[in-house]
Each structure stands twice: as structure tokens, then as C-alpha cells.
């Protein structure tokens, strides 16, 4: 594996980190794209999931959406959007494709969290004369929060990974380092880019992991790791 030495040489060359095509610039693009898409998809998915969960409607939709999301290749959606009139508007195809792919984990986890709130607690809150709105904000959402946040975590990590694909359709982000490496037939650059992307994704996962462990108890939920089960398609 003399490649490893070449990869290290690529990574330790300052010129590769600076400038328009440098790592730092690409990293900034990647981060902005990820955060922007995460905010947009949360704004769309969470109100819908909370409303549906509160009303107890649309359960089949929430469950099936996750399965559909897995079956549709992100790359295909990206290219399809690129060939529509949207494709003439820079980053919009990438943005929309990424938001679409962050919706399933957010919707599914938030919905399951809302439905998982102890029925007797809901009954008690109603008995105390709480209105629908009070019930949602004071009882259901706080109790569903661990699962909601699990959905956010899965979506965030998925977005970091998927934002890499923006490079395939000429967008920015860290994926560009990899695709540029392929175009230059430079294996060290391809591998170096891959290492950077992988490290970023793992860091994102680690940040959420740390936040979950260090967060206040009511955010973490009752049982540690209980929220990890939903959304990854684990068998119960």
C-alpha cells in the first residue's frame, strides 16, 4: 500500500487546502448545504409529523415513506431534477433532492415518537382540561423529543453522506475533491477526498452521540439507546 504514503502526501500539501477548489472551501460548501437542507427538511417534516401524530392519522404513510425513501436512488432523483427546468438554477436540484431524502427519517421518527406517548398520560392531561394545543406542546412533544431528535440525527448524518453526491451533478461540497481526483486519474486525491468525507460524516455522528449522552435526561428519554431502534429499520 504505497498509496497510503501518496494520500498522506496529498493531505499534507498546503496548496490542496487553500483557494477556490481547496478543501476548506469545499468543506464550507458541504457544511452550508447540509445545515440548510436539514433546517428546511425539519421545517417541513416536523410540523406535519407532530400534527399527524397528535391526531393519530397517517400511520401507514409514516411507516411506508421510510421504505420508499430507501428504494429510490438519490443519484437518480438528483439527475432527474437536473434535467427538469430546475436544472438551470444552480444548486436547486441538489437542495431539493437532499431535502426529499431527509424527510423520511424525520417524519417516521417524529410520528412514532408522538404515537408512543403513554396513552394514560394523554388521558390525564385531557382530564386536567388541557386543550389540544397545550397537550401537544406541554405533554406530547416533550415526551416524544428523544425519538424526534433521533430522527434529526439520522437525517443529519444521511445529509452529510448524500451531499457528497452533489459533486456528481456539478455541485459543490467535499465530493468535488473525489470527482476531480477521478477526472485527473489521481488515486491519491480520490482516496484523500474520501478520507475527508468519511471523517466528516463520522464527526457528525460523534457530535450527535456526544450531545445525546451529555444532554439533559428528559431529552435522552427513559431508556438509554431506546431511540436508536426506530428509523434504522430494526426488527422489534
Amino acid at each position: 500500500m504505497s498509496t497510503l504514503g501518496d494520500v498522506w502526501a496529498w493531505l499534507s500539501t498546503g496548496a490542496h487546502w487553500a483557494g477556490e477548489n481547496g478543501v476548506w472551501h469545499r468543506f464550507t460548501e458541504h457544511l452550508l448545504l447540509t445545515v440548510g437542507c436539514l433546517l428546511a427538511s425539519c421545517l417541513i417534516a416536523l410540523p406535519v409529523a407532530v400534527t399527524l401524530g397528535h391526531l393519530g392519522r397517517g400511520g401507514a404513510l409514516a411507516v411506508n415513506l421510510a421504505n420508499v425513501g430507501r428504494a429510490v436512488p438519490t443519484f437518480a432523483v438528483l439527475v432527474l431534477l437536473l434535467l427538469t427546468p430546475l436544472g438551470r438554477h444552480g444548486d436547486w436540484p441538489t437542495f431539493i433532492a437532499l431535502v426529499l431524502f431527509a424527510l423520511p427519517p424525520l417524519l417516521t421518527n417524529a410520528y412514532v415518537g408522538m404515537r408512543g406517548v403513554d396513552r394514560s398520560v394523554v388521558e390525564a392531561a385531557r382530564g386536567m382540561g388541557m386543550s389540544g394545543g397545550q397537550l401537544v406542546w406541554r405533554v406530547e412533544v416533550p415526551l416524544a423529543l428523544p425519538l424526534v431528535l433521533t430522527g434529526v440525527r439520522i437525517a443529519a448524518v444521511q445529509l452529510v453522506a448524500t451531499a457528497t453526491l452533489a459533486a456528481l451533478v456539478g455541485g459543490g461540497g467535499l465530493g468535488r475533491i473525489i470527482t476531480a481526483g477521478f477526472n485527473l486519474a489521481s488515486t491519491p486525491q480520490v482516496v484523500a477526498g474520501a478520507v475527508i468525507v468519511a471523517v466528516f460524516a463520522l464527526l457528525m455522528e460523534a457530535v450527535f452521540e456526544a450531545a445525546q449522552r451529555l444532554g439533559p435526561a428528559w431529552v435522552r428519554g427513559q431508556a438509554p439507546g431506546q431511540g436508536r431502534k426506530a428509523g434504522r429499520g430494526r426488527a422489534r
Binding site: 430507501r70 436512488p73 434535467l83 473525489i178 470527482t179 481526483g181 482516496v191 478520507v195 460524516a201 463520522l202
Partner: protein, 223 residues
């Protein structure tokens, strides 16, 4: 100069019968490549995941490292995964197959472990009482009872593999992904849409196929 033909290929329509008629062989080749990549990678994943799960169950200390490692692999973005394997396998189908197999490990190991953990104690007691040795107990009692949970993982892993195969296009081995990639560069709408739809069809077909297989393997669950 004759006038250009006015058919859906010339108009670059999204849905085009002529495309299906004239490019049938290209599509069929891509579908076969896609099926080959997906099936081989999932089988390879299964061949690695099953021993890993058995080891993790036999020696408790191995559970953490096994789950940790497979989760880390699962977190690596697909484009990066295929790129990281480049020095090892070059621009080959093997690279895509190994990458996809590594992805399937998390789901498979977790679900096989969950399935084995869910085997009722009574069933194991009964097997021991009937004089089953450890190996026979594993093969005849525990693994069959773990099938439903393991199948859930296998179905998700397979559907994900079908979708992820398209990314293999960056090394020229992406099945239908190759057509999408080529269609992107030439703005060939019919090719991109047809290949994308076929991807989803293959994924759904595999899902139903595995559901059927699960019912066949677990006759005792049919009422």
C-alpha cells in the same frame, strides 16, 4: 438536408416508446449487471455477517467491537466508500460488490443478533432435553427461529443495495446507474427516467421476493 425525424427521441421526451424499442439490449444488459452486483454483494454481506453475529453471540466481549465497526462502515458516504477501495480493487465490479457488502453488514449483523436473542428459552431447553448438541441446536432450532428478524434486515439491506449500486457508475460499474450517468451528460431524459424507474422496480421486486422466501422458510408462522 432532410428534415430531422419528429419522434419522441428527437424531441427528447421523458417517456418514449421508441427508446424502449431501440435500446432494449442496452437496458437489458444494465439490468442484468445491476442484478448481478446487488445479488452477489448481499450474498457476500450475508456470508460475512452470519459468522460475525455468531462470534458476537458466543463471546460477549465481541458484541461492542463488531457493532461499532459495522456502524462506522455504515456511516461512510457511498461515494467515499467506493473511492477508499480504489487502491485495493481498481476500477472493477469487485470494488462495487465489496463496497455494497460492507454496507449491508450493519443491518444484517444487528438483525441476526436480535433474532437469535429472541429465541424463546423454552425452545432451547426442549432441544437440549431431546439430546440436541450445540451445533444441531443452532442449525435446527435457533437459526430457523431467528429467520423473521434476520429477514427484516436482509430486505432493507437488499433494497438499499439496489439503490446504492447506481453510485457504482463513478467507476463504470453501476448497472442502471451507468445509464443515468451517461444520460445526465447527454441530457437524455428518456434514458434517465427509464433507468430510474427500473431501479425502483428492481428494489420492490426483491423486497416482495424476500417476503415470499420468508413465508416459505417459516411454515409454522402461517395460520
Amino acid at each position: 438536408m432532410t428534415a430531422p425525424p419528429d419522434d419522441c427521441l428527437a424531441r427528447n421526451d421523458w417517456i418514449c416508446g421508441d427508446y424502449l424499442a431501440t435500446r432494449r439490449h442496452i437496458l437489458l444488459d444494465a439490468v442484468l449487471q445491476h442484478l448481478h452486483l446487488t445479488v452477489v454483494s448481499v450474498l457476500l454481506g450475508l456470508a460475512i455477517a452470519l459468522p460475525l453475529a455468531l462470534v458476537a453471540r458466543r463471546w460477549r466481549w465481541a458484541v461492542g467491537p463488531v457493532l461499532g465497526l459495522t456502524t462506522v462502515l455504515y456511516t461512510i458516504p457511498s461515494l467515499a466508500m467506493f473511492s477508499l477501495l480504489l487502491p485495493l480493487y481498481g476500477l472493477s465490479a469487485t470494488l462495487v460488490i465489496v463496497g455494497l457488502a460492507l454496507y449491508s453488514l450493519t443491518l444484517l449483523v444487528r438483525n441476526i443478533l436480535a433474532g437469535l436473542a429472541g429465541v424463546p428459552e423454552e425452545a432451547k431447553e426442549a432441544a437440549r432435553g431431546m439430546g440436541y448438541g450445540p451445533l444441531r441446536q443452532l442449525l435446527a432450532v435457533e437459526l430457523p427461529l431467528a429467520v423473521p428478524a434476520a429477514m427484516a434486515g436482509l430486505r432493507i439491506a437488499t433494497v438499499s443495495a439496489v439503490a446504492l449500486t447506481t453510485i457504482g457508475a463513478i467507476v463504470g460499474h453501476g448497472g442502471l446507474g451507468n445509464l443515468i450517468y451517461a444520460g445526465m451528460n447527454s441530457y437524455f431524459k428518456a434514458q434517465v427516467l427509464t433507468a430510474s424507474v427500473l431501479c425502483v422496480v428492481i428494489a420492490v421486486a426483491f423486497d416482495l421476493l424476500l417476503l415470499g422466501l420468508e413465508r416459505l422458510l417459516t411454515p409454522w408462522r402461517r395460520v
